[in-house]
């Protein structure tokens, strides 16, 4: 057993070299390197490099409610067409309930309604017609809303100039955002907090009693002013043209009006806009954004060029943000921020520095301790420990894992736990040395006997780490990754590298007896 197999030496040495070489990109850490090799570096998590993590929830209830509102309007229209009167119509939780005077025409209404909307459940109960959204129908609304929201969010974030954002769907109705290096998440939150639904409506100035009673007749809506809640407008419910027809919007500055947003319609929008402005000269046209009137200027002449400006009491930032929102388009439903974690670059840098110090001091303490206890063997185990650290760093870089603060904690913990396999082996060698005198036989038995224990012990730790990965979230996953890699690397370094080093040491030192 004195002759260590050459192929084994070769494998150990090359794996160790690879482990060290591939740690180089992460240690140099050139952020903008284009070099294929230097690109294999660890990604720093948001908690270390600074940035914002946002979890947004699409407010689907708003969409369901909107759909129910549409049902109400449709029922009214159908009833009017068929000259049927009903007592009452209202929305109760997730259904529309229509109460008729008598049963006669209910079936007709139901059939006509069913022609318009598939995927709804219609129930007749005496004089009542109940309209419900099916689960499938809800699912269609949900999926298209998330898809659309993702797209709009992506456009808005891109427009805001954030570098390398990560935007993805999370679960049924959420969108996850990771914005590295974002210093001011408030602005991003403002951008995402608005639905940005832009519509143009003709103002009804004749029906003054409606405004006084605060009760909109059918086909009209009452909308407050953006700057003064007490100023209200009575508008046609139907928008003449909307934000979906915009092709461009820019913040602009006008000598007389101040900061404004100039916009341009596509062909269809331009036509609609031209027609409406031609037919309604003298009336007012309200620009409505997310349920408030920004401005409602008088149409003094037909606007057929398909472009215009929106003026309000904007400052430069507000005007350019509104332009961003209009260019990106409207969200199908409002987004609610359900979780936010933002870390400044200062704290991130502090965390990295503290983590490095903790790792180095932990390493030194463990190494000194190992030498005190095991002497030369301890020094050999320390070589394994250091290589172990390099291998963890290499693997993190190669798989493109993200290093987080808990991830650093995982590495420091691994430093303490990785020597365990070595300790198990040395303790076995110690026992074996009492039983016999042949040096290489002692070492061989020591390694062989420790093997199954090492496997059992490490697999249980791996189980815990893997489950943590499966159920954990965000930074905690970083911990389970470094811990798992550390455990795997420690098995390799103990069973192969320490083994190799011990054999080399015993061969070269030409030891005749072994006392650990």
């Amino acid at each position: 057993m004195k002759n260590y197999p050459i192929w084994k030496s070769f494998t150990v040495i090359s794996l160790v070299l690879l482990g060290i070489i591939f740690a180089i990109p992460s240690i140099i850490y050139d952020e903008n390197s284009k070099n294929w090799f230097l690109k294999n570096k660890i990604n720093l998590g948001l908690d270390l490099q600074g940035g914002s993590y946002l979890l947004l929830e699409v407010q689907l209830d708003v969409l369901y409610k909107e759909e129910l509102d549409n049902f109400v309007d449709s029922v009214r229209l159908i009833a009017r067409d068929q000259a049927v009167k009903f007592k009452k119509i209202d929305i109760q939780e997730s259904e529309v309930v229509v109460l008729f005077n008598n049963k006669e025409k209910i079936n007709d209404i139901r059939d006509s309604f069913f022609q318009m909307y598939r995927g709804v459940t219609l129930q007749i109960n005496n004089n009542k017609l109940i309209i419900k959204l099916n689960d499938e129908y809800r699912k269609i609304i949900q999926d298209s809303a998330i898809k659309q929201s993702l797209e709009i969010v992506r456009k808005r974030i891109d427009e805001s100039g954030t570098k390398e954002p990560l935007i993805q769907r999370s679960g049924k109705k959420r969108i996850l955002l990771q914005l590295p290096g974002v210093k001011d998440p408030e602005r991003i939150k403002d951008l995402l907090g608005k639905t940005a639904k832009l519509t143009f409506h003709i103002v009804d100035t004749e029906n003054t009693s409606a405004l006084q009673n605060n009760l909109a007749p059918f086909g009209k809506i009452i909308v407050p002013d953006m700057y003064d809640e007490n100023t209200k407008y009575l508008l046609d419910k139907r928008a003449v043209v909307g934000g979906e027809n915009l092709v461009d919007a820019k913040g602009s500055f006008d000598q007389t009006e101040g900061h404004a947003v100039s916009f341009r319609f596509d062909t269809e929008g331009a036509q609609k806009f031209g027609k409406v402005t031609t037919n309604n000269i003298g009336k007012n046209l309200a620009v409505v954004l997310d349920g408030v009137v920004i401005t409602a200027p008088r149409i003094s002449s037909a606007i057929t060029g398909g472009s215009g400006i929106i003026t309000g009491n904007f400052n430069a930032q507000e005007a350019s943000d509104l332009a961003v929102l209009l260019r990106a388009g409207a969200l199908p439903a409002p987004l609610e921020i359900v979780e936010e974690r933002s870390v400044g670059a200062g704290l991130g840098a502090d965390s990295i520095a503290a983590g490095q110090i903790a790792a180095i001091i932990g390493m030194v303490l463990v190494c000194v301790f190992m030498i005190l206890i095991y002497g030369t063997f301890g020094a050999l185990a320390n070589v394994s420990l250091i290589v172990n650290l390099f291998i963890i760093i290499s693997l993190l870089g190669i798989i493109g894992a993200t290093l987080t603060l808990p991830g650093i904690a995982g590495i420091v913990l691994t430093i303490g736990m990785a020597v365990d396999a070595n300790v198990l082996i040395f303790e076995r060698i110690k026992e074996e040395s009492l039983k016999q005198t042949k040096v290489f036989q002692i070492v061989k038995n020591g390694f062989d006997r420790a093997m199954s224990t090492i496997l059992d012990a490490n697999i249980t730790t791996l189980i815990a780490a893997i489950l943590l990965f499966a159920f954990g979230s965000g930074p905690i996953r970083g911990f389970s990754i470094t811990l798992s890699l550390g455990v795997l690397a420690s098995m390799f370094t103990a069973l192969m590298l320490t083994n190799f080093l011990v054999y080399m040491y015993l061969s070269f030192a030409n030891k005749k007896e072994l006392k650990l």
């Binding site: 932990g362 301790f369 249980t460 159920f471």
Partner: protein, 299 residues
């Protein structure tokens, strides 16, 4: 070679199991007190599990009292705390709804803007998320315990699995009890620490059990108590060595790793000590309940 390990005899002969009754009573008391504390005092839940807003700021020449004064006029459910040093202050607020959060963070920032050098971090966890995170944390811990049990069961006889799970449950409850007394913040990282403790404690137990199994085959005639004692003694220096190196690394993390990671390091330190204790004094004695050698009894 100048190994200091000669301090620990190779074949120590300490009668660990002789003391098992005392330690059993100690552990049962500790567990009962822990359960009592957890149900009465509870854990110091961080915003991960309670929901709310947390803002960490670094200030210049501003005392914590000044900041409190500025903020307390606008917010009632407010707590401020120095974090590491007197220039870094942690502000916690309890939010009622998701919508409030955005305004809260913004308005807090506006109120104290001129007193603050840097906004180091801001976190907001909404009520739906915090309850989800708590649920997932529970899920992770329970599944880990079950998976470890299954593994031990497959690798060893089921009696060992029982012993391991008793020790593990002991460790988790005992650690949680201490976290409650010490008022350590319970966060997502704590869940990670608890799971790692589970892995570590099992690791320790498995090493001893491995030896018990080996000795059961080797010494067919030895009394069980003596055999268990022998096994614990055989593995004693390894148990101590590994715990010490792990503790060295953790203490370094606790002292130098920064304020954010400190509760995690503290939880791990507590857990490693308890886990080591339970492997020797709880897991092994539990095996005495079972008769491993029915044929011996018949003789």
């Amino acid at each position: 070679m100048f190994g200091l390990n000669k301090i620990i005899p190779v074949e120590p002969n300490i009668n660990f199991l002789g003391l098992r009754r005392n330690f059993l009573i100690f552990s049962i008391l500790a567990i009962l007190i822990s359960i009592g504390l957890l149900s009465i005092k509870g854990l110091n839940l961080g915003i991960d599990f309670k929901g709310g807003t947390l803002i960490e700021v670094s200030t210049k020449n501003t005392s914590i009292g000044e900041l409190r004064e500025i903020l307390s006029s606008s917010y009632s459910d407010l707590s401020l705390q120095e974090f590491g040093n007197e220039n870094i202050i942690l502000i916690r607020l309890q939010n009622k709804s998701n919508q409030e959060s955005i305004e809260t963070v913004n308005s807090v920032k506006n109120l104290i803007q001129d007193k603050v050098v840097e906004f180091r971090r801001s976190e907001f966890v909404g009520p739906t998320i915090s309850s989800e995170l708590l649920f997932r944390g529970f899920q992770a811990v329970s599944f880990a315990l079950i998976a470890i049990l299954i593994y031990i069961w497959l690798r060893f006889e089921w009696q060992f699995g029982f012993g391991a799970v008793v020790a593990l449950t002991h460790d988790v409850l005992f650690t949680l009890g201490l976290l409650s007394i010490l008022n350590v913040e319970f966060s997502l990282a704590t869940i990670a620490a608890i799971l790692t403790i589970a892995g570590y404690s099992i690791n320790d137990t498995v090493v001893i059990f491995d030896r018990v199994r080996e000795n059961l085959r080797k010494y067919k005639k030895l009394e069980l108590v003596d055999l268990f004692n022998l096994s614990v003694n055989n593995t004693l220096s390894r148990t101590i060595m590994t715990s010490l190196t792990t503790l060295l690394a953790l203490v370094s993390l606790f002292i130098f790793g920064g304020e954010v990671i400190r509760p995690f390091a503290l939880t791990m330190i507590i857990g490693v000590i308890i886990g080591t204790y339970s492997s020797v004094f709880i897991a092994v004695p539990t095996l005495l309940i079972f008769k491993f050698r029915p044929q011996d009894e018949d003789d």
